[in-house]
Amino acid sequence: MSVITYRQALRDTLRAEMVRDENVLVMGEEIGVFEGSYKITEGLLQEFGPRRVKDTPIAEEGFVGAAVGAAMLGLRPVVELMTINFSLIAIDQIINHAAKIYGMFGGQTSVPMVIRTPGGGGQQLGATHSQNIELFYSFIPGLKVLAPSTPAEASAMLRAAIRDDDPVLFLENLGLYNSKGEVPEDYAEAGSDTVATIGRAGVVREGTDITLIGYSRMAMVADQVAAKLAEEDISVEVVDLRSLRPLDRQTFVDSVKKTGAAVICEDDWLTYGIGAEIAASIQEGAFDYLDAPVRRVAMAEVPMPYAKPLETAALPSVASISTAIKETLSAVGKRVG
């Protein structure tokens, strides 16, 4: 095991898959000469040349759709969208085309492509560059949506996404790129078989008092919350959703059956958000086991402000999640640290 950043895990895995399979190419704005806005494609143009590392014009609908068409003829494009906010310009190609082509034509042609894109607030990027709109894609049958939170998961899931024959939206996060974690020794090798199973959530920390559910950056924050509350003798079980579609309901429902209470933390807005689906699933799957209402900690329902104090206040934090957990536990008289 070695310790690397989430960014490094993505970059090296992408490179390894390009070495492994001639049909894998990368496309996007500023990914070649500029080496990527967040340097995930650093060195790839130099190594693989412009045929396989394609700088695109600022035309998200055009180049995302071109990746779909190329995938229909057997290429395996990995598209980078600079941020998930820009996916809105390509949404017709993602939802009306990439997600539909396999089913709409009776299974004749698959669309083996990956759209990598970071979400995430907290970078003072303001209202249009800080949104977490993975919900839009998680809503759509035909798409697969992955949201890794650690370098190891990022590597194994990216490998799985590239090898999968369906269109995958691969959610990264600006707040995770510099986070570090252990990865298997062979993670960067073309022959690596460290491939995640798409459609599985994971219990990343075991606990007995309450279940805390998150994904992407919020799964990392959830683990921090659990570590802090452990010092106060509160035992938090953390579930990382990892795959938003398909959604592994059984894993978090089983956890809630064990703990009897649940808090969901999410970077997106609460109303109609990912957490709403999780909460609905918990009431259906673990109704008789719940000792308290399911609580959601989510972003304040405002366009993200630029000013730092306002931005910080709008986002869930270790403190606000901890408060929600303690209030949930005290509501049922369980225990409060």
């Binding site: 190419l25 045929r51 394609k54 695109t56 014009p57 035309a59 609908e61 055009g62 180049f63 995302v64 759709g65 071109a66 990746a67 779909v68 068409g69 190329a70 995938a71 229909m72 003829l73 057997g74 290429l75 494009p77 017709d92 190609q93 009306n96 085309h97 082509i101 396999y102 089913g103 709409m104 034509f105 009776g106 299974g107 004749q108 042609t109 698959s110 669309v111 083996p112 049958p141 035909g142 697969k144 999968d164 024959d165 369906d166 199973t197 798409i198 459609g199 599985r200 795959s243 398909p246 959604l247 592994d248 309901r249 059984q250 429902v253 699933s281 259906e284 799957g285």
Partner: protein
């Protein structure tokens, strides 16, 4: 052969303009093989009769959804498809029945798709707007205006990436030239030197909105200029003119590895779709659209008759054959089984993964 005369909207076109345009754009038939000419005639008639049968089945509620017909565009359909090699790829919009048949799909399976039956080309998952067949390389009718342009551009990218010598043809309607995907796709196709021919079918009306109402540059073939893409216009009522111009551009795209633009104009004989009575058309516009002088089959019939290629007996013989074949397609569709509900979840994902939902509407999320 290309027609660079400026056509105006259907209603405004004067008889004099029409005559002059026809004269300029009509290749002679004397050097052509009579059997080839009769083959074109037969294929155009087949599209006509197939679409008429489709409209009938639609009004009898055998066919559902939206249903857009190629009536009036038969010469364009046959001319364009004659220009393609079998290995070439085709993407179209939702007005795709004739293209599907002409690219090589079995008409019986096209009709079965219209009927929503299991023998349909897309097993009943697509319907009228979504004909698709990997084998004949008709890679889809698409229902979202402009949606097929980025896809076709990407298919041409894949051809280029693999070093193949196939060409991609991307058909669309006149209204499509104003959507963002048009500009983005033409730009990318030229930047990346892709072997693709974009074909605009100009019937002068996007649903009920005229080209002049929607396009600041109504000479649509000129609109590739912003991307340094050469464009030509052809009389879409003339099968030989369409064939010759399209063949030239397709082969140039293949040889030169660069995109081209072709505008083929003709008249949509009926409404936008089967259910559209076209009340927005003036009487004059309606007469223009349905005039024998603008009917590609009547025009070709007259030309072949005059040249002695098409006799009364031959005409009757072809008509009878086509009628029988269309009836056979309808019978096949009528008798094809409806898709089994047990196949509902078969085509959501190509790679099966855990936790895919197979929940029917009233099922609980957690089945016991």
């Amino acid at each position: 052969m290309a027609d660079k005369a400026k056509p105006r909207t259907g209603a405004a076109r004067s008889t004099a303009t029409r005559r002059r345009t026809r004269k300029e754009t009509t290749p002679g038939v004397s050097e052509e093989n009579p059997d080839t000419l009769l083959d074109y005639y037969r294929r155009m008639l087949f599209v006509r009769r197939f679409e008429e049968r489709t409209a009938q089945a639609y009004t009898q509620a055998r066919i559902g959804g939206y249903c857009h017909l190629n009536l009036g565009e038969e010469a364009t359909v046959v001319g364009l498809m004659t220009a393609l090699q079998e290995r070439d790829y085709l993407f179209t919009n939702y007005r795709d029945h004739g293209y599907a048949i002409e690219k090589g799909m079995d008409p019986k399976r096209v009709m079965a798709e219209l009927y929503g039956r299991s023998d349909g080309v897309s097993k009943g998952w697509g319907g009228s707007m979504h004909m698709y067949d990997t084998e004949t390389r008709m890679l889809g009718g698409y229902g979202i205006v402009g949606g097929q342009l980025p896809l076709a551009t990407g298919a041409a990218l894949a051809v280029s990436y693999k070093g193949g010598d196939e060409v991609v043809m991307c058909q669309m309607g006149d209204g499509t030239t104003n959507i963002g995907a048009w500009h983005e796709s033409l730009n990318i196709a030229k930047l990346w030197d892709l072997p693709i021919v974009f074909v605009v079918i100009n019937n002068f009306t996007g649903m009920g909105t005229t080209v002049e109402m929607s396009s600041a540059e109504p000479d649509l073939y000129k609109r590739g200029a912003a991307f340094r893409i050469e464009g030509e216009r052809v009389d879409g009522r003339d099968v030989l003119a369409v064939r010759d111009t399209a063949s030239r551009l397709v082969e140039r795209a293949r040889q030169e590895q660069t995109p081209f633009l072709l505008e083929a104009w003709s008249y949509r004989q009926k409404g936008h779709s089967v259910v559209d009575p076209a009340k927005y058309r003036t009487q004059e516009q309606k007469e223009t659209a349905r005039a024998e002088a603008n009917d590609p089959i009547a025009l070709f019939d007259a030309k072949l008759t005059k040249a002695g290629v098409l006799t009364d007996d031959k005409r009757d013989e072809i008509a009878a054959e086509v009628k029988a074949e269309v009836a056979e397609a309808a019978d096949f569709a009528e008798n094809s089984p409806k898709p089994d509900v047990s196949t509902l979840f078969d085509y959501t994902y190509a790679t099966p993964v855990p936790n895919e939902s197979r929940r029917m509407p009233a099922d609980p999320v957690f089945a016991e």
